[in-house]
């Protein structure tokens, strides 16, 4: 895997100052959200801004653009080379001439960031027309198509005519990038530009951004919570916490010699390959013992990995708890008319696998590959079109709702969104005990309450939380409540649909550790869906790789990683950015002169 950052021919930062931010503070009346941020960016420099959710990353970048939301006030100074104006407090008319021309921005959610009613090409052309960097409308369109080509859209002329909804997420983000780069700005701000994208697509977009800025010598301020991405993209890193920059330094320094406890915590929690003495992931709390990756250690580890892969892991030969045979699920949709032909979507095609009792199966695959559909069928929330699914002795296919009650005592599900999976209007007690309120169960209210208390304790929450409402909890705590709900009726199987992908890295490790513990403790069979290979690798012993509704590869986690067979799996493995690998790559570059 070649990282473009190590590509030869890169111009080192010239040292000339491009952007300086001094004493930037942002707040509402009497309430400071971002405090005293100072940094400078040299021409062509690439700075990463990391920190957990709500730390003020986005506010900082919007303040630089002069686009703070109404009601927020900024103080301090932001200046861009070539312009006298301090962006803070400058009239909008002044900033308007700079925005889009000398500095541009790519936002996180490409679907909502593009006008849904305007063709992609026109949106790209608009930025040029606005700043009159092209002579005519026709030229703008020609240039727009050229820009779309330069961001490697397959058929740029066609793409220019498309509306945003006709493009995939990755394509939309390319359009955003084409737009941002159209006037060749000296500064590009990217606010989590790839979090909404698939791993493989993310990788392509990141490479594209990197390539583009390097080619043009554009300064880049890159916001992300993903440390691996920063390591890949940036030369310098700013770490933000609670509205302040707590640490700043070159990528190598920050990642291998973090000074601030918060940085270390972040780093430790992000590193899913490092475990403490008990084999558990590091959390922010336990990060003191964490040792950042070094070249030597990495080499050893690589060797060890190869060894594990070679040595066949103990085959789990228990009886199958889940047995899926020739599963098909076809959705008919888009039938806008009673006469029109319905379009068919094959969400699942001939899927067959088994999970033995106590097995931990990871399911990975790109967005839309059918992962969620598979889980929904397992949980009896959706019906297969064809094939058979037996879970803990219950046939799911063709079962009536009443027959599924038994199944659901045996199998429970945990969802992705920690907020959306809890009814905001119910107390924790009611949420957690809900699965007990089914025909056939006879617990009294007092018994249910007792069970809830025990369950909450098992997931690390106290009995005092029973009477609270979901919004009074953090994301990680909410996910614990979801887990408590899933486990209260002691199921044998737990299926989880991306349970940690909406969580901050700092809590992700906690939840993963908890899951691992509970699986052990309750002897659960686990089916775990994730797009994050590292997570699956940490938690699961087997993995199936899905693509377009089909299983393209199946095997032991380690061997699939070490030696992917199917081209898609290979691409997937290659695309996932791994903190260690990235840091090591940086270090190698940095250490080269020695």
């Amino acid at each position: 895997m070649s990282t473009p950052s190590s590509a030869p021919g890169e111009n080192p930062p010239s040292g000339e100052n491009l952007l300086s931010v001094e004493n930037l503070s942002i707040g509402t009346r009497g309430f400071t959200l971002v405090e005293d941020v100072n940094f400078a960016m040299a021409k062509g420099e690439r700075i990463g801004l990391i920190g957990e959710s709500g730390s003020g990353k986005s506010l900082t970048s919007t303040a630089v653009m002069g686009l703070l939301p109404e009601g927020l006030e900024a103080t301090g100074s932001v200046t861009l080379a070539g312009h006298d104006a301090n962006f803070i407090g400058a009239p909008d008319a002044t900033l308007r001439k700079i925005r889009g021309r000398d500095m541009a921005m790519v936002f996180q959610e490409p679907l909502t960031a593009l006008n849904p009613l305007m063709r992609a090409g026109a949106q790209v052309a608009e930025i040029m027309l606005q700043h009159k960097t092209v002579a005519s409308r026709r030229e703008a369109h020609a240039k727009a198509v050229a820009m779309l080509a330069s961001v490697k859209l397959p058929d740029p002329a066609e793409a220019a005519r498309a509306y945003p909804h006709q493009l995939s997420g990755g394509q939309r983000q390319r359009v955003m990038l084409a737009m941002a780069l159209a006037n060749d700005p000296s500064l590009l701000l990217c606010d989590e530009p790839t979090t909404a994208l698939d791993v493989t697509v993310q990788r392509q977009v990141l490479d594209l951004v990197l390539e583009s800025v390097i080619l043009r010598g554009t300064g880049l301020l890159f916001i992300t919570h993903d440390l691996a991405v920063v390591a890949n993209m940036c030369t310098r890193v700013l770490v933000m916490n609670h509205g302040r920059i707590v640490e700043e330094g070159s990528t190598e320094d920050i990642f291998s010699r973090p000074q601030h406890a918060y940085t270390r915590g972040l780093l430790a929690a992000s590193d899913l390959e490092a475990t403490d003495r008990e084999g558990r992931l590091f959390t922010v709390a336990s990060s003191a013992a964490y040792i950042p990756p070094t070249v030597e250690e990495a080499r050893e580890r690589a060797a060890a990995d190869a060894a594990t892969a070679a040595a066949a892991p103990p085959e789990n030969t228990g009886p199958a708890v889940i047995s899926v045979r020739n599963l098909d699920r076809t959705y008919t949709r888009g039938r806008a008319s009673l006469f029109g032909k319905p379009t068919e979507v094959h969400a699942l095609k001939d899927v067959t696998f088994e999970v033995p009792a106590g097995g931990r199966l990871g399911v990975v695959g790109e967005s839309g590959s059918g992962k969620t559909t598979l889980l929904r069928i397992l949980a009896g929330l959706d019906r297969p079109t064809d094939g058979s699914v037996v879970v803990a002795g219950n046939e799911v296919a063709g079962a009536r709702e009443a027959d599924l009650v038994q199944l659901r005592q045996e199998l429970q599900i945990v969802f992705q969104d920690p907020m959306g999976s809890l009814d905001p209007r119910m107390k924790v007690l009611d949420i957690v005990t809900e699965p007990l309120l089914v025909p056939g169960r006879r617990e009294t209210a007092a018994q249910r309450r007792q069970m809830a208390v025990e369950m909450l304790e098992a997931v690390g929450l106290g009995a005092e939380t029973l009477e609270r409402y979901p919004h009074q909890f953090s994301g990680g705590q909410r996910q614990r409540i979801s887990i408590a709900r899933a486990l209260i009726c002691r199921p044998r199987v737990l299926v989880a649909d991306e349970p940690v992908s909406a969580l901050d890295v700092s809590v992700r490790a906690q939840v993963l550790n908890l899951l691992a513990d509970l699986v052990e403790q309750y002897q659960l069979t686990l089916v775990f869906v994730s797009h994050d290979l590292a997570v699956v690798r940490h938690l699961c012993d087997r993995v199936v790789v899905m693509r377009s509704g089909e299983i393209v590869e199946e095997g032991d986690t380690e061997s699939v990683y070490a030696d992917p067979q199917h081209p898609y799996t290979q691409k997937l493995v290659a695309s996932s950015l791994n903190l260690r690998t990235e840091v090591l790559a940086k270090e190698l570059v940095a250490n080269r002169p020695e």
Partner: protein, 315 residues
């Protein structure tokens, strides 16, 4: 697109048929025999029977229904036994009047409410925005007929600028038509524009918080230009929805204004027909209204697809 329209047509037919049955049955429950009314105070059982035979109201319901329903697709509503004349041309005249009134009022309301609603949204933190909002609040709270009466009192009786009431078809004397249509249209539009202003405002406010507007600003567009170029068309979708719903409701809802301005519209025809127990006419008016409502829906649906490419795709 074509299947989408076909589908709408199918729905149209289903809704229409359901409505015919509902309306027919409901109106059979109406007390007050049209024969009795025609005979008035001196009815005798023999005369009544004779009249009912003449009207055909003594036949089985199902026969009456099918006879009536069979003509509907051809716009043939039959001959009213109360007025003894063909219903269709009568309704056609009235519908024309109502549509002119309502469409003009809606257009005027849109012309007023789009700029004001937008302004109210853009300036929502400033006094001017608050004033527009307050005025529109007040506008909604004033019953339409009161607005009509006040207009008559001030502009017709007081200043004498316009005739107080009455109607002239545009084809006969256009200048007179204009002078007569002005006040009722303004009365209708004043209330409608207040309603629409609020919808425009909220739609624009919503759009203003959209990401793509931020993108447009990031391109260097001024807030106003960003809103006009990127926001308004997006805001149009909810506004189209309300406009269509209001348009349909107003065709009968304008009856109070018709009454104030003595305009022979569909609403007043409905009132008269009900009073005369002209069941066929009532049925037919209601069906025309259902038809118009559904056609408006159809039209709006097409409009959506023009405005919104996302809908075009899903067809």
């Amino acid at each position: 697109m074509i299947p989408r329209i076909l589908n709408n047509v199918l729905r149209f037919v289903v809704t229409f048929v359901v409505a015919t049955v509902m309306v027919f049955l409901l109106l059979r429950a109406v007390p007050g025999d049209p024969a009795k009314i025609a005979l008035g105070e001196h009815a005798t059982p023999e005369l009544l029977a004779q009249m009912q035979r003449e009207f055909g109201t003594d036949r089985p319901l199902i026969v009456q229904y099918f006879e009536w329903a069979a003509g509907l697709p051809f716009g043939d509503f039959g001959i009213s036994y109360v007025t003894r004349s063909d219903i269709s041309p009568l309704i056609a005249d009235r519908v024309q009047v109502s549509l002119i009134l309502v469409v003009l009022a809606m257009l005027l309301a849109l012309v007023i409410s789009i700029p004001f609603g937008t302004l109210a949204a853009v300036r929502h933190r400033r006094a001017s925005g608050a004033i527009i909002s307050a005025v529109s609040q007040l506008g909604i709270a004033i019953p339409g007929f009161l607005a009509g009466i006040m207009l008559v009192v001030v502009f017709a009786l007081g200043l004498g600028w316009f005739p107080a009431n009455g109607w002239t078809p545009p084809g006969r004397d256009f200048a007179d038509f204009l002078s007569r249509v002005t006040l009722p249209v303004v009365a209708l539009a004043s209330v409608q524009s207040a309603i629409l202003t609020r919808y425009v405002r909220s739609a624009v406010l919503e759009v203003m918080s959209e990401d793509y507007l931020r993108t447009a600003r990031a391109k260097g567009l001024s807030p106003m230009k960003a809103l006009v170029k990127h926001g308004l068309r997006n805001a149009a979708i909810p506004v189209i929805t309300v406009t269509s719903v209001q348009l349909a409701a107003l065709i009968i809802g304008a009856v109070v204004i018709e009454k104030v301005f003595a305009i022979p519209g569909l609403g007043s025809m409905l009132l008269d027909s009900v009073a005369n127990r002209d069941m066929l006419a009532v049925q037919s008016i209601v069906m025309v209204l259902v038809g118009i409502t559904l056609i408006i829906n159809l039209f709006v649906d097409v409009l959506y697809t023009v405005v919104d490419p996302r809908i075009r795709k899903s067809a």
